[in-house]
Each structure stands twice: as structure tokens, then as C-alpha cells.
């Protein structure tokens, strides 16, 4: 009997851990926010090797994670970023670091990419590779998955804001409008920018559940939690009163 209980408990614990490790939060833009970036060594386009921290200490960074052999999102993503940045010619409060997460990429590949976008001589743009991409990806919360059939990475188009102290202040996933980029730039310069969390299956106890189809809110389980302490107190009061008075002699 005892062994069965122990076995059941261990199974449940492992199942929970496994679930925790595999479950997607559906909130990738919120993961790793305000965590410090792993300080990896970078090989930058002029051939120098510098620490990541040297770059963000010079100026806050917008970090774009791409790979040069991408046949999908990377090129339109960089193009949109370039267009958005060009709409802010006077704002030199940040630098843009384009870094490859593909270990096959080298500085030459990155140089070709920089020339393709006409950014090779723009001092605001830095193209780089690193030998420690795993640690960098981990510290950012970026998880590209290699797909051997298509010979491509399955990945998000991720732009990460890093402030002057090396903290991740905001993330943008996908090709975004200029307004979102403005918020990202504000965040790396330590100016308040609002953030929000989308509803997800992992939020079990919401006070209200929003239905995007009808546009209506319906009361959720969370409302019961607000009433719970008062209800428990009343039950406790009645329980104790009954117990102590039943024990007392007549």
C-alpha cells in the first residue's frame, strides 16, 4: 500500500514537471522579461570580437534573431525593421544588432546579408555571429526548432529590446507596426511602455473570461476566489463554535 502511494506521488510529480517543461505559455513575448542577457562573445562585421555587454553599455540594443539561409520570415522581417527605423532618422538612442542563431552562419554570410539590405555602412546596424548561441537563446527565451525535411529552422521573428544594463525590457514577435517599435525603443531607454497579457489556457482562475467572437465578458472562477476567504471564515466560526459548545458540560 505504502509503495503504491509513493509510486503514485512520484508519477504525479514527474508528470507535472514534464508538463511544466513542455507546455507553452502562449505568452512568449512575456517570457524572460527583466532578466539579464547572457553575456556571450560576439564576432561583429568588422572582424572584431567583443562582449555583448560592451555593445549594450554603449547604447541600448534592439536584437533581431535571424539566419541567413532562411527562406521564410527573416528577410521580410529585417526589411520591415529597416523601413520602420528609417522613419526615425533622428533617433540614434539605440543600436540594432542582427545576430544569427544558425551555427553554420559566419561573418561572411552576415556581411552578404548586410549588403543585401544596404546596411553594411550604417553605424546604427551591427551584424554578428556568436559561438555561444545556445546560451544566448536560452537567456532570451528563444527556441528555434530545426526541421530536417525543409532544411530550415522553425522559428519566431523575434525582436528583443535590451537596455543599457543588459536587461530584456520588451519583446516583439512577428512583423510589427511602427507603433510597436516605438514602444520597444521607449522600453530600452527605460521609458514606461504598457504591456498586456493575452488570455490563455494556462490562466485557469480569471475573474472574467473574454470571448473574442461575441466581444462579451462572462464571470470566471476567479470571482469565487475573492469570496472564498469570507466564506471560509464564516464556516470556521460556525465550526469552532459548535465544537467548543459541544464539548462544554451542560
Amino acid at each position: 500500500m505504502f509503495k503504491n502511494i509513493v509510486f503514485t506521488i512520484i508519477t504525479i510529480i514527474f508528470a507535472l514537471i514534464a508538463n511544466a517543461q513542455t507546455a507553452s505559455t502562449g505568452m512568449e513575448e512575456e517570457s524572460n522579461i527583466y532578466e539579464k542577457l547572457f553575456d556571450v562573445p560576439l564576432h561583429v562585421n568588422d572582424g572584431q570580437q567583443i562582449a555583448f555587454s560592451t555593445l549594450y553599455h554603449q547604447k541600448p540594443l534592439l536584437v533581431a534573431l535571424i539566419f541567413t539561409r532562411c527562406s521564410g520570415i527573416c528577410s521580410p522581417f529585417l526589411l520591415q525593421l529597416k523601413d520602420n527605423v528609417q522613419l526615425k532618422p533622428d533617433d540614434k538612442s539605440f543600436q540594432i544588432l542582427v545576430i544569427s542563431f544558425d551555427p553554420r552562419d559566419d561573418l561572411e554570410d552576415m556581411g552578404v546579408m548586410a549588403r543585401k539590405f544596404g546596411l553594411e555602412n550604417d553605424p546604427q546596424w551591427v551584424f554578428a555571429v556568436t559561438d555561444s548561441i545556445e546560451q544566448l537563446n536560452h537567456s532570451i527565451g528563444f527556441h528555434p526548432v530545426w526541421d530536417s525535411e525543409s532544411d530550415q529552422f522553425d522559428h519566431d521573428a523575434l525582436l528583443v529590446g535590451i537596455n543599457g544594463e543588459g536587461y530584456i525590457t520588451k519583446k516583439l514577435i512577428g512583423i510589427r507596426k511602427r507603433h510597436d517599435l516605438d514602444l520597444l525603443i521607449s522600453s530600452v531607454n527605460n521609458v514606461f511602455s504598457p504591456t498586456y497579457r493575452l488570455p490563455s489556457k494556462n490562466s485557469l482562475f480569471s475573474c472574467f473570461n473574454y470571448d473574442p467572437k461575441t466581444g462579451k465578458n462572462t464571470p470566471g472562477l476567479g470571482l469565487l476566489f475573492i469570496a472564498l476567504p469570507a466564506v471560509l471564515t464564516v464556516l470556521l466560526l460556525i465550526f469552532i463554535s459548535r465544537v467548543v459548545h459541544n464539548r462544554l458540560p451542560d
Binding site: 507546455a23 505559455t25 517570457s31 536587461y167 475573474c207 475573492i226 476567504p229 470556521l236 467548543v244
Partner: protein
Amino acid sequence: MESIKLRKITSVWILAVFVLFIVSIILGILMRLNQGGVINQNPVTFYANMTTHGLTMIGIWFVAGMAAINYLMERYVKTSYTVNLIALVLTVIGVLMFWVSTFIGKFHAAWTFLYPLPFKLLGAESWSTLLFLLALTIFGIGWLIWSVSLMTQILRKYSISQAFAWQHFKKNPSVDTPPFILISMITLIGVIASLLAAVVLLALLFAEYFSNGSFVNDALLMKNLTYFFGHTIANEMLYLGLAVIYELFSEVSGRPKWKTTWYVALAWNCTLVFILTAFFHHLYMDFVQPEGFQIIGQMASYLASLPAAGVTVFSVLIAVYRTKMKWTLTNLLFFIGVAGWVIGGLGAVIDATISNNVVLHNTLWVPAHFHTYNAMGNVLFSIGFFYWFSTQFAENIKPERFTKWTLATLLIGGAGFLLAFYYGGADSIPRRYSVYPAELSIGAPWAVVGAIFATVYLIAILVFFYNISKRCLKILSSPS
């Protein structure tokens, strides 16, 4: 009558509260000096100090009230020394863990630790959040056991309806419920509800902490629970002080003991019901909160505080108006404390009015009002009790020199310190800024003024500490 063990443990509570109070005042002064530009603290240090200051103050004045009612309750029912001791030990452990989380771990999410701040701390050690949550758990366990134990002891002697003095709604009640028992019972119910809210809140925070992202909380739910716990316990600790006043004010003044009447019973039963929903006034700016809750928040804020304040002020005024009474430091502190409680309470009710909150929300008005009813209200209730307690077992009590001067220093320091907050609030200076930007530069001189007067207040507290603690140490060293 109370045991010697109870005297000794009450002395330990008093000494511990005083020491932690003095450290917390110093942290507060440092914060105001930083806001005034006199010193330059790292923002993380500032907010870690703010967190330590806030939670320590809430904690110590809660346990001070609990220790006082535990001591006085022995007049009516037997209380458990063991539970009192457990609460003391767990409080000390909790304080040590909490201070390590803030002073060393740099946890700095404020004493309200509003979600998701504990998980998003810039510049804090990664372990500090867990340690902070564990410290809260330790406090919660100790205080919940203590509160439930005291409530149980009341229920051993009184039925539920008698403990709430419902029989006083009729003429000629068969059983007389002393006001001390009524207020203690009503307060303990609120304390237990708030601590159970903390249990739910902590369970949800731990669940998210250990879920590795597979479980996330709803910010609106967490804010509601945070203020259910935080607002309620901050108010209930005031009521603990009022229970002491109802018991001791007439006694130390040489007047007949106060009795429960129908309006006293009604007022405090209103407090019982409405204090549990008054916290909704902390969510006026949360547009997703249903409008009905906001209206309940405003109504409950009035109904929880005004009737209780009305009957208490009426009782105190009746007791002193054109009456020959013996003024001692204890009843003077009680009297001034009631005035501070009422002034701060009015400030709170003004802020709890939705149309005013639009202007005053998160300005220095907020610390202005809660420092008024704490620093010049609840603190004085407790120090009044401490002084009375310390003199109970001392032989040849001589009138202390400089008592009038000490009291005057306390009043001047307290009033100046509070006015600096009120003027800042009236100038729309936001609270919780470590330094004021150029647009809010008017906040800096007020902060310096506040720091100077807070130092004056601290001097008076040090004098009280010296006089009371030397007698408490004698009680501790007396033979068992």
C-alpha cells in the same frame, strides 16, 4: 488574572516591536532624504527599503495590537501561552527571512507585492522572491493560529450571537458582552478573513512560481486578493488598538467602565460586515473591475469606518467632557491617538470617494492619510498600552521628567512629518518615486521637511522606548 509567563512574553513583544519600529522609522527617513536629494540611494536599494519599511510597520503594529488584546483578554477568558509563544517565534523567524530577502536579496516589490511584480524584479537576487513568499507564509501561519486561538477562547465563553453582542439590539439583554470582547471578536474575524485571503494569494503565487510557466495568474484576481489581505489587515490592526482603548481608557481615567449599548453593537457589526468589501476602493483605476464592485467599495468604505468612528469619538468625548478625570500618559496617548485616527480616517474616506480618487489616486495623499492614522493613531494606542503595561508591575512609579516635552516633541514631529505628505499630495506629487524628476521638483523640499520632522518624531519615540523598555526588561528579569 494573567500569568507571569504572559507578562514576560508581552514584554518581549513590546521590546521587539519598539526595536523594529525604530529601524523602520530610520528607513523611512532615509527614503524621504533620498526623495529630497540629500542622499543618493540606488533605486533598487530605495525600493527594497520601502518594502522593508512598509511590511515591517504593518507587521509590528498588527502584533502589537494582538499582544495587547491577548494580555487584556485574560481578564475575561483563558488564553493559550503556547500559541502566543508560537506566534512570537514564527514572527521572529519571518522577520529574519523577510529582511534577508530585502536587505541582501534586494526584493523590492513593496509590501503590497502586487502581481506580477514579485516575478519581474530588476536587480534583485533570483532567490529573493521565494524567500519573501516563504516569510509571508511563516507570518501567516503564526498569526492565523494566534487569531483562531483567541477567537476560540472567546467562543468557549460566549455564543456567536453573544460575542457579536446581538442581544444588545433588544432591551434588557440577559448577557452583557463587554465592548472589549465585542471589538476583539469582530476584529479577529476580519483578521482571519484577511489571513485566509493571504493563504489563497500565496497558494496562487507559489503555484505560478513552481509551474515553470504552465500556470499563470489573473492580474485582476491577484490584485483583489492582495487588497483583501492588505487593506483589511491594515484596518483591523487599528481596531485591535481601539479594543484596548475601550478596555483601558475609562479604567486609567478613574471613570466607570464603558458598556456595550445597542448603537455600539450596531456600529461594530457594521464594521464586521463592511470592512471585508471596503478594499474594492483600491481598484477604482482598474477599468476591468465591474462598476458594481466600485460602488460597493465606496459604500463599504463609509459604512465600515464612520459608525465605529462615530461611537468611539462620542464615547471618548463623553468621558472627558466636563469630567474630573485623572490624566496619565496612557489616556493622553489614547486621546491624541483617537484624534489622529479620526483625521487620518477622514483623509481615507475622502480618498475612497470615487470622484476624489480620480485626483488623489497614488499621490502623496495616500501615505499622508495612512501615516496619520498609523503614526499618530494606532502607534499611540499601542504605546499607551505599552506604557500602562510597563507601569503595572513597577514599584514607586515616579512621574517621569520631560513627559510633557516628549509628548510635545511627538506631536510636533508627527504633525510636521504628516503635513509634508499632505502638502505634497495637494500638489499632485505621486508617491513611490525614489527621486522626483524636474516636472515634480516641488516634491523634493517637502520630502526634506518630512525627513526633518520624522527625525523629531523619532527622538520622542526613542525616549518612550528608553522609559518603557527599562521597565519591560525588569519584568523579564524578575523571578518566575
